[in-house]
């Protein structure tokens, strides 16, 4: 079973992309709301709100990673596992990017737009699918793959901040709910 999993370095690269995307969204939203919260919540309460948000973030990130690893285990190694850092990153970008577009479209156009809100997310997923399906011997695809790999590699540095933060905030939330 473990043999079917990709290398830990590749998992780390993909998780870094996932964590940065989720936490980037949450922290941006948090900062957007902060000015209103400063009127009504004290600093301790704001810290608690941030803690819950980041713990939700952690759960979201691990869920997506687990999903990708499940896919990786189920598919033949040559399709996904052997190039997990690139393909996993592209899939994560597609999945999380489509969620971002979905929610962003709603923020922009409202619920009244109905199923048209799905246009953006579907385009993002289509783009990810193209990157995954097109043969990697094409020059442009090769360039994009190497760019994705480069970016995923650079994202790992953020884990040095995010992982300790997740651990501390998770512990804080657990303690709050135990007392």
């Amino acid at each position: 079973m473990l043999k079917r999993l990709p290398s830990s370095q590749a998992i780390l690269q993909v998780y870094a992309v996932i964590a940065v995307m989720f936490s980037g969204w949450t922290i941006t939203a948090f900062l957007w709301k902060l000015s209103a919260w400063l009127l009504i919540l004290n600093l301790g309460e704001i810290f608690t709100v941030f803690s819950y948000s980041m713990v939700a973030n952690l759960v979201e990130g691990l869920t997506v990673l687990l999903l990708l690893l499940t896919v990786c285990v189920m598919l033949p190694a040559s399709i996904f596992r052997d190039d997990f850092a690139v393909r996993g990153t592209i899939l994560a970008l597609g999945l999380i990017g489509s969620l971002m577009t979905f929610v962003r479209f709603h923020m922009q156009f409202g619920i009244e737009s109905g199923v048209r809100l799905l246009i953006g997310p579907l385009l993002v997923l289509l783009l990810a699918a193209i990157l995954l399906v097109f043969p990697s011997n094409l020059r442009i695809v090769r360039f994009l793959h190497s760019a994705v790999l480069w970016a995923a590699d650079r994202m790992v540095v953020f884990l040095y901040v995010l992982v300790p933060l997740y651990v501390v905030l998770f512990a804080y939330v657990v303690v709050r709910n135990m007392t």
Binding site: A36, V103, M107
Partner: protein, 515 residues
């Protein structure tokens, strides 16, 4: 075999959930409590954003409240009852604590009562000998109920009796850390589908909520509700279901565990004004109202024609709600549930349709947004008593404490209502205010303050960017529409009231001034 539609499924599920909630409430209340003594039950019905100026009970020309008028025939009716705030947070907090907004500090959107004052609430003060039950459809008012959680024997979820909940996770799903769970889940992580400016913190939860809203065939508009179902922008509901649910709960549970204090805070007739089809078009369009030019502090600039339209829709919605309430009271009477029960009807604030403004929570605090109804029907009361002296919604807490035989603490800023031990004091001053953009932890310097005394009303607009501080003075007895500003004409009154208001503000701000 007939096929069950998704809508039928959702309705059935909602009914099952409501039944389970109801059964749980009944079980908890009937098993945990038994009649204790002959103390009266207290039922408080709060109608959100119901302006006294729009009720035929108080002389409004449109016949909006025949059922409230019927109840008034055996109740104490307060004709000059004012809220301490012009939106839910400050108005409701004052009603439940007996404190002015500048004291309890719930002054902002989604604001909380000062953490050090949380025990100063009606449910705590009335004590454990009462079975204390609370339900609000207003999520901002539910913040307070979350703060008072330890003082409540039963706190029904806001979306009870509602068929169409929008959010996947509700604040009640987190019990251990309920105060802030509300903020994290409801105000941040979740997506409020109907919110005008959403920015959800969780992509997963937001997408799930959004997908759920898109996938459901939730009838935003139905044959019965051509303007859309009533909604608090978080969930939609039908008033019939909500009032029937409240009635069932009162009949079969609450009043069996006497004495009870039950607080029902209904969203209607808050906007959107979604009256049932039977009430649409019942009023002619020719209601005469005096022209009032746009106010410089108004947040919007609706035309008079548009405001008349909103006003008519609001009146229709009030009439709809009044009919539902009439049915509720009738059912409770028939069941004998009101025999030893005080019934209180009031609101948290009013609504404004003038000077370019529609709604509430703006800088404008004219009478329609502060003047709220108050009726108290005592057990066995057979006649109507009318009180015309100035009263405030801070007065409800001490009055209810007196009714329930409790001591009234010294810190209460309200007074006993006339008819319940209070006196009709012509020299009384009350101080409604609005400071939604002022930090709760700082001196109040960006606000609209009001001083109402005798028949005079003084407004003080201060700290609004781009506007110099301004005062307005009106004599309500001769000018109920607040058309003639006397601030520069009645110098003596203006000066006295200005000094009194500034002194009160200074005292209130004292503890928050930088040392």
């Amino acid at each position: 075999m007939s096929r069950i539609s998704r809508r039928d499924f959702l309705k059935t599920s909602a009914a099952l959930v409501a039944s389970a909630t109801f059964a749980r409430a009944s079980r908890i209340l009937s098993s945990a409590y038994s009649p204790k003594d002959d103390k009266p039950n207290i039922l408080i019905f709060v109608f959100d954003a119901m302006s006294a100026r729009h009720l035929s009970l108080y002389g409004y020309t449109r016949q909006t409240t025949p059922n409230l008028e019927k109840l008034a025939e055996r109740a104490s009716v307060y004709h000059r009852h004012y809220s301490a705030g012009n939106f839910t947070t400050s108005g409701t907090a004052s009603m439940l604590t007996g404190l002015y907004p500048w004291t309890h500090r719930a002054i902002n959107y989604r604001g909380m009562i000062s953490r050090s004052l949380v025990d100063r609430n009606l449910f705590n003060l009335i004590g454990k000998e009462y079975t204390r039950f609370a339900f609000t459809q207003n999520l901002w008012a539910d913040i307070f109920l979350n703060q008072f959680e330890k003082d409540l024997d039963f706190h029904l979820p806001s979306d009870s009796f509602s068929q169409f909940a929008d959010s996947l996770i509700q604040p009640n799903d987190l019990h251990a850390d309920r105060d802030l769970a509300y903020f994290v889940l409801q105000d941040f992580l979740n997506l409020r589908v109907d919110d005008l400016h959403p920015y959800p913190g969780s992509l997963f939860l937001a997408s799930a909520d959004l997908a759920r809203a898109l996938a459901s065939d939730r009838p935003y508009i139905s044959a019965d509700y051509p303007r859309g179902l009533p909604t608090n922008h978080d969930f939609s509901y039908e008033n019939t279901s909500v009032f029937e649910g409240a009635g069932r709960l009162v009949q079969s549970s609450i009043l069996q565990s006497s004495p009870s204090l039950a607080y029902f805070h209904f969203w209607s007739p808050h906007e959107p004004y979604s009256a049932r089809k039977d009430f649409i078009g019942i009023f002619p369009e020719d209601l005469k109202s005096p022209y009032k030019p746009r106010h410089p502090f108004a947040g919007s600039d609706f035309s008079d024609q548009r405001l008349q339209k909103y006003r008519r829709e609001y009146d229709e919605f009030i009439t709809d709600v009044d009919a539902e309430f009439g049915q509720l009271i009738s059912n409770l009477e028939t069941s004998g549930a009101l025999q030893n029960t005080y019934v209180i009807v009031t609101s948290d604030h009013g609504e404004l349709f003038e000077r370019g403004e529609q709604g509430h929570a703006s800088a404008l605090m004219y009478a329609p947004v502060l003047h709220i109804p108050l009726l108290i029907s005592a057990p066995g009361q057979g006649t109507r008593s009318d009180f015309h002296s100035l009263t405030s919604n801070l007065d409800l807490l001490p009055t209810l404490l007196r009714i329930s035989g409790k001591e009234i603490p010294d810190w209460v800023e309200g007074r006993l209502l006339p008819g319940f031990g209070g006196i009709e004091d012509a020299s009384r001053s009350i101080f409604p205010m609005m400071a939604k953009d002022n930090a709760a932890f700082r001196p109040v310097e960006h606000a609209t303050f009001t001083l109402i005394k005798d028949a005079y009303e003084l407004f003080f607009f201060t700290g609004y960017p781009g506007h110099p501080d301004a005062f307005e003075l009106y004599y309500l007895q001769e000018d109920p529409d607040e058309l003639h500003d006397l601030f520069r004409r009645d110098i003596t009154t203006a000066s006295q009231m200005k000094d009194e208001l500034l002194e009160a503000i200074s005292t209130a701000n004292h503890n928050y001034q930088k040392q």
